[in-house]
């Protein structure tokens, strides 16, 4: 009798506690729109680059992918782009690919930006924001590090230093 009472009480308290914990957790994570979390498989997408070539994320299986979301109006993006380009040169033969996803800008603006900063890695444009929505990205820049199996290893938002770019690329090197 007493054991049963304790068991029932414990069960009810656990259920109530779980409901409260879930509510608090859900409330405090509702603002980060991020829909892709670390350890999860990165959602596949196809986007066209400036030359009109299609890039599909899953085609880069076997390589680490440095997936960077950016815009020409975003100052920290502008700062970190040359760093990414430098490291891209060093890592592209070691199995690390850079994919820079521009958020809904015109080809002319992006081409012009790429030219000024002499960017060599493929830049694709997410014209109608589908990929942005799928990854739930709000502030730019945002960088996802995807390993050779297509899993997200790390997520980084905010401006990167060249040192960090190097470390991150080392991490996803197959």
């Amino acid at each position: 009798m007493k054991k049963r009472r304790l068991a029932i009480r414990t069960l009810i308290l656990l259920i109530l506690g779980a409901a409260v914990a879930y509510t608090l957790y859900a409330n405090f994570t509702k603002d980060d729109q991020l829909k892709v979390s670390v350890g999860q498989k990165a959602p596949d997408f196809i986007l066209k680059d400036l030359q009109g070539h299609k890039h599909r994320l899953s085609d880069y299986k076997g390589q680490g992918v440095f997936l960077n979301f950016w815009g020409t109006w975003c100052k920290p993006c502008e700062t970190e782009m040359p760093y990414i380009n430098n490291q891209y040169q060093k890592f592209k033969d070691k199995g690390v690919q850079v994919l820079a996803v521009n958020i809904s800008e015109s080809n002319v603006a992006v081409e012009n930006f790429a030219e000024i900063h002499k960017l060599d890695f493929p830049i694709v444009i997410d014209k109608d924001g589908q990929v942005q929505a799928a990854y739930g990205i709000d502030p730019l820049p945002a960088t996802f590090l995807i390993d050779k199996d297509g899993k997200v290893v790390k997520y980084y938002t905010g401006q990167l230093s060249e040192e960090t770019v190097k470390d991150l690329m080392n991490e996803i090197r197959p």
Binding site: L16, G71, N112
Partner: protein, 539 residues
């Protein structure tokens, strides 16, 4: 902590004040009282008797009504504080909140902001308070309804003298021929819809027991209501998003997993016309200026047809055309799109003319789509223009031309103009009211001709699957209130003790009604009307 066996044979849980079955009093304290405390039928609220493990201690804490009331009071005070100054979501978004509160409300406002009251209703501690009220509600209810149910179920017809004489309404009749009187009273009780049980010539008449469950039905409603509130945080249950669509543009409806797309065909803003809307002439005259009559977005809703990989242009099939107006949302598959905002005449295209500066002769016009400029515009006859750079929202930053946003609020271009006699081209920087020639004197210029504008509709995307849960909770809440408020649980005991008739009665409310009813029942019998011992005590 053993159970207590009463002399009547019933086994009561430890801590019971008086026997569930016969009513014999077990607590010495109660023995001294003239009138029994009948709350919860003297049942052992277990929380108050077992207090051993941590689980029991937590349980007991929440089981206290005092704790529950304090939680509610604290929440009320906190909620009131949140209304002193506006919450952060209602202040102008252009001013940083730390400055806003101080500039508007002085040091009090600054404190208000620093203490986090500007986001009170979604702060963790406020949510914890609400959650604790929910927990208290559940545990208080369980801790009372179960023993109460058991006690009412275990009650026997024949009750102990000590129980009967400590009822508020009680009396002893010395009448002679009481057998006939009791059976007459019994009939009258039945006609008054009492449920009468008989045992050894003793009567227990009872009605309206279900009203005792009213408060618990009400609490279940409240808890469902709280669950409804909680469901808002569950992904997919509640959506409240903004969607801006330019005329002619097709955009994915947010939070539909890329399933629905919306095209804005036209945004319409109509105002009242003093000459046409005669009925409102006087009112319009007194107000002056323009008064809007209609905000409307003519849209087409599309649904994705078949599968497509994210980023690919999906195949769309048309669902319907609709005119979204204020309070007339476009509804589809749990989603509703409301007209909430607009922007008129946003820059969309610019038209230039390639002109010889000296002769003023034009060699053709070109229209640049500000959302997607081409890199080259061919004007024929060997004249063409290349777009070298494009800054949709131009500004100078550290001496470099850059763009503030991707929206063409202040477009600027670097054009290279080619003519048969200028095969190397001439460079020109063109912004609004600006035309700079960075490499000296040009022969040609891009003469500004016209701008094209489009309206933009601001829509709210709303989905709320929690509404029905909240409505259900509200209905149960009200049913519980009605159940507990409009019915009373009344019991009348008519029992033979030592050759006399003892009459006792109890109700959970409306004692006056109960006494009236007993008078009607005893009228015409030889039985005496019992007295209200509470009133005697007062007097």
């Amino acid at each position: 902590m053993n159970d207590v066996k009463c002399e009547c044979g019933h086994v009561n849980p430890h801590g019971t004040v008086f026997c569930e079955a016969c009513g014999k009093i077990h607590e010495d304290e109660e023995q001294e009282k003239k009138i029994l405390d009948m709350r919860y039928e003297g049942s052992a609220r277990r929380s108050q008797t077992y207090n051993k493990t941590v689980v029991d201690k937590i349980w007991n804490f929440f089981s206290s009504v005092k704790v529950g009331v304090w939680l509610i009071v604290v929440t009320l005070i906190a909620s009131a504080i949140g209304t002193i100054f506006p919450q952060q979501m209602y202040i102008p978004p252009t001013i940083p909140p730390e400055d806003y509160y101080q500039s508007q409300y002085g040091w009090l406002g600054k404190m208000y902001y620093q203490l986090g009251f500007d986001n009170l209703y979604s702060s963790w501690w406020y949510l914890v308070l609400i959650a604790l009220i929910g927990v208290s509600l559940v545990i208080c209810s369980i801790d009372r309804v179960v023993p109460l149910y058991k006690a009412l179920k275990a009650q026997r017809v024949t009750r102990h003298e000590g129980f009967l004489e400590r009822q508020r309404v009680f009396g002893i009749s010395n009448s002679e021929n009481f057998n006939a009187s009791i059976s007459k009273a019994r009939e009258l009780l039945i006609t008054r819809r009492y449920h009468v049980r008989e045992e050894n010539g003793d009567l227990l008449a009872e009605k309206g027991r279900f009203s005792r469950w009213g408060p618990y039905v009400n609490h279940i409603g409240l808890i469902i209501f709280l669950i409804g509130g909680m469901l808002r945080f569950v992904p997919g249950m509640y959506v409240d998003k903004v969607l801006w669509v330019r005329e002619g543009e097709t955009k994915v409806v947010p939070d539909t997993n890329g399933e629905y797309y919306l095209k804005n065909n036209k945004f319409i803003l109509q105002v009242y016309d003093k000459n046409k809307d005669k009925a409102y002439q006087a009112a319009l005259q007194s107000v002056g200026g323009t008064v809007p009559k209609n905000y409307q977005s003519n849209v087409t809703l599309y649904q994705k047809d078949g599968k497509s990989i994210t980023g690919e242009k999906p195949k769309l099939k048309k669902v319907e055309d609709y005119a979204i107006r204020v309070n007339q949302p476009l509804s589809f598959h749990h989603y509703s799109l409301y007209q909430v905002d607009y922007k008129l005449d946003e820059l969309d295209s610019m038209t230039f003319s390639l002109t010889n500066k000296k002769t003023g002769k034009s060699y053709g016009n070109l229209t640049v789509n500000l959302y997607d400029p081409k890199s080259k515009y061919d004007l024929g006859n060997g004249y063409y223009v290349k777009v070298l750079s494009y800054f949709p929202d131009f500004e100078f930053s550290n001496g470099q031309p850059t763009t503030k946003t991707r929206v063409p609020n202040n477009p600027a271009f670097v054009f290279k103009m080619y003519a048969p006699d200028k095969s190397k081209g001439e460079t020109s920087f063109v912004a609004i009211r600006e035309n700079i020639e960075p490499f000296g004197n040009n022969e040609y210029k891009m003469a500004f001709k016209a701008i094209g504008t489009k309206n933009v509709s601001g829509l709210t995307v709303r989905k709320d699957l929690t509404l029905w849960v909240i409505i259900l909770g509200g209905i149960l809440f009200m049913l519980g209130v009605i159940q507990g408020a409009y019915w009373n649980h009344r019991r009348i005991w008519i029992q033979r003790k030592n050759g006399k008739v003892w009459i006792a009665a109890h109700t959970n409310k409306n004692w006056y009604g109960l006494k009236m009813e007993i008078e009607m029942i005893l009228d015409g019998t030889n039985l005496d009307m019992p007295t209200d011992q509470a009133q005697i005590e007062k007097a």
